[in-house]
């Protein structure tokens, strides 16, 4: 089994797609893995959805791009429309069910849903929605160990206010807990 | 007696005539008997005794032809 994993992050601007995917890239590097992070660029830049592709591997990464990522983290409905057919057969979708009001149309994918916005509201931290989904994702996939990610939290958010780091940490852990309890 | 002395680097002179025009004593002329390497009749001092060494000829010369000395 190859270790290389390619994960697509998609949502609309402002949902923190770039920052959650960057977090994963930092965490992966912190855990000693090879990683590439490519933001959507060019034609895909205009049109409301932001997306980003992270590749994580133990070996040297040849291609940081792919047509068919193994996993997709879907933050809103237009992203589902656009990317559900791109994910590899037997791949996994992580869906923010608060923002997507329909089910995935493919039956060969594992679909894991998190009502991210509701959870974020419960935490009174709407901006932390991205970290909730990321926490759930990492707990489920262990692409990077949750403990490793937590260990690099301060470093990844270095320069940010203490309070902000704390809120992100709380959101991340809420996602981890959701995955433990529901998946 | 002259109070000034003018030395010409005649091979640099292009006979533009600005020194001739602005000399307050009107004592500079073109040397019709000489043709320099540039093909011009270079300037010369007609009445050396009259030169006051005011330096105006050097000031107006665009080609550094003239060196002026004064007592």
């Amino acid at each position: 089994m190859e270790s290389e994993k390619q994960i697509l992050f998609a949502g609309f601007g402002g949902q923190g797609v770039l920052s959650m995917s960057k977090f994963l890239a930092y965490a992966a590097m912190g855990a000693g893995k090879n990683v590439t992070w490519v933001p959507s660029y060019g034609a895909e830049m205009r049109g409301g959805t932001a997306n980003c592709l992270v590749t994580i591997a133990n070996e040297e990464i040849s291609s940081p791009l792919t047509e068919n990522p193994l996993m997709a983290i879907i933050m809103n409905k237009p992203s589902l429309e656009r990317f559900e057919n791109k994910v590899q057969p037997d791949g996994t979708l992580f869906v923010n069910s608060s923002m997507v009001d329909r089910k995935c149309r493919r039956d060969d994918l594992t679909v894991l849903e998190v009502p991210v916005n509701q959870l974020a509201e419960e935490l009174d931290n709407l901006r932390g929605a991205n970290m909730i989904l990321l926490g759930a994702y990492l707990e489920k996939t262990r692409v990077v160990e949750v403990e490793d990610a937590l260990e690099h939290f301060e470093q990844i958010f270095s320069g940010k206010r203490k309070e902000i780091i704390q809120k992100n940490r709380q959101a991340f852990l809420a996602g981890v807990e959701y995955a433990r309890n529901n998946w | 007696m002259a109070r000034g002395r003018v030395i010409f680097l005649a091979e640099r002179c292009k006979a533009c005539g600005l020194c001739v025009e602005f000399c307050p004593k009107n004592i500079l002329v073109f040397d019709d008997h000489t043709i320099n390497v540039l093909g011009f009749h270079p300037v010369m001092l007609l009445q050396p005794d009259e030169c006051t060494g005011c330096g105006i000829c050097g000031l107006m010369c665009p080609d550094l032809v003239i060196q002026v000395e004064r007592e």
Binding site: V35, V38, G42, S63, P64 | -
Partner: protein
């Protein structure tokens, strides 16, 4: 060994600083502006000069001036901006002033788009401006190489007294990955030709005007000798799985790295594919092409343009082997797309 997660553009800028670059003069243009932004933050803190010039023309002439002081200087731009800089690059080449010019390329002609591109290959490898000259052109394929080739670029620039260009697709500028940050360069060549004020020596003149035919021809012969020397010494390319390769892909930049995966995938399906990745676009690594011309069945040039490097490959192959072309515009092909192309060729050639 310190690894830092860096965007390609940042890695390049940091590499330039590591190489001792102390002057950046540029004009904003997508997708290169991050390099200027990085330098604007860093240079003032280490006693360097950053100026956002009023135009690309001013920027390249600031490079002319900056380099004349003996300082390592650079600029960065993209397609339309690089076109505007060409007059200056011609002057800088003739004045033999070392500098780094970065083209984070976008698609043209005209304003084109801001998508990744390799369509400035001709412009870069043929000199770009007026007169007989060449510039060294380096094509990185990772954030690490963005840094390492920036350091190399300054070294080659000083060694040969020539502008060096780094050409990278916009995607590479934005791609983020861990980079091993190199040690600061501490050894530099003397530059007795620099115009720094003639204290205790005869005045230096930096000039590109040669009105006498003999002098002009002499200058051109001198430059040509220098270009021959560079061609002899500085060709660089990466070879990947060439030993038994029947189909050899030639590609540069980030695209080449993506195609490595295509080559591996094609091999899994029984196609003996290989890859040549020119690292120097000028001088072009023609010996690499010549070597596979004797052993392979066909060469495929893949480029993000409508077919430019393919001409250099054909020149190098000298008709000994078919050279075909596959190109896209405004888009970096995914590995799967090139794998399909390799399978298509293999099937057509009966290599499966």
């Amino acid at each position: 060994m310190k690894k830092v997660l860096m965007k390609g553009n940042e890695a390049l800028a940091e590499g330039a600083l590591i190489a001792g670059c102390r002057g950046f003069f540029g004009y904003p243009i997508t997708p290169s502006s991050e390099i200027a932004e990085y330098m604007a933050r860093k240079l003032p803190k280490i006693g360097g000069a950053f100026i956002q010039a009023e135009s690309e023309l001013a920027a390249i002439n600031m490079i002319y001036g900056g380099s004349s002081t003996g300082t390592r200087v650079m600029t960065a731009s993209s397609g339309p901006g690089i076109s505007l800089k060409q007059e200056g690059i011609s002057f800088i080449s003739e004045a033999e002033l070392p500098c780094l010019i970065v083209n984070v390329s976008r698609g043209g002609p005209g304003l084109g788009g801001i998508q990744p591109s390799q369509a400035d290959y001709f412009q870069a490898t043929r000199g770009g401006g007026h007169g007989d000259y060449r510039i060294i052109v380096l094509a990185p394929s990772s954030s690490q190489e963005m840094m390492d080739l920036a350091i190399l670029a300054f070294e080659l620039a000083d060694k040969y007294r020539t502008p060096v260009m780094i050409m990278a697709e916009g995607t590479l500028g934005n791609l983020m990955e861990p980079v091993i940050v190199r040690e600061a360069v501490t050894e530099f060549l003397d530059k007795p030709w620099a115009t720094t004020g003639c204290v205790g020596r005869k005045p230096n003149v930096i000039n590109t005007l040669h009105l006498s035919q003999e002098e002009l021809e002499g200058r051109n012969r001198h430059l040509t000798e220098k270009y021959k020397m560079i061609s002899k010494n500085e060709k660089r390319a990466e070879s990947f799985l060439l030993d038994d390769a029947e189909i050899v892909v030639v590609a540069f930049g980030l695209l080449a790295r993506i195609i490595k995966k295509s080559v591996m995938e094609a091999r899994k399906k029984g196609v003996k594919a290989g890859l040549i990745r020119p690292v120097t676009l000028w001088p072009f690594p023609d010996e690499h092409i010549q070597a596979v011309s004797r052993t392979a069945r066909t060469i495929l040039s893949v480029e993000i343009n409508m077919g430019q490097m393919v001409e250099d490959i054909r020149l190098a192959a000298g008709g000994k082997i078919p050279v075909e072309f596959y190109g896209r515009i405004g888009f970096t092909p995914n590995p799967e797309e090139i794998t399909r192309q390799l399978l298509f060729i293999a099937e057509r050639e009966g290599l499966l």
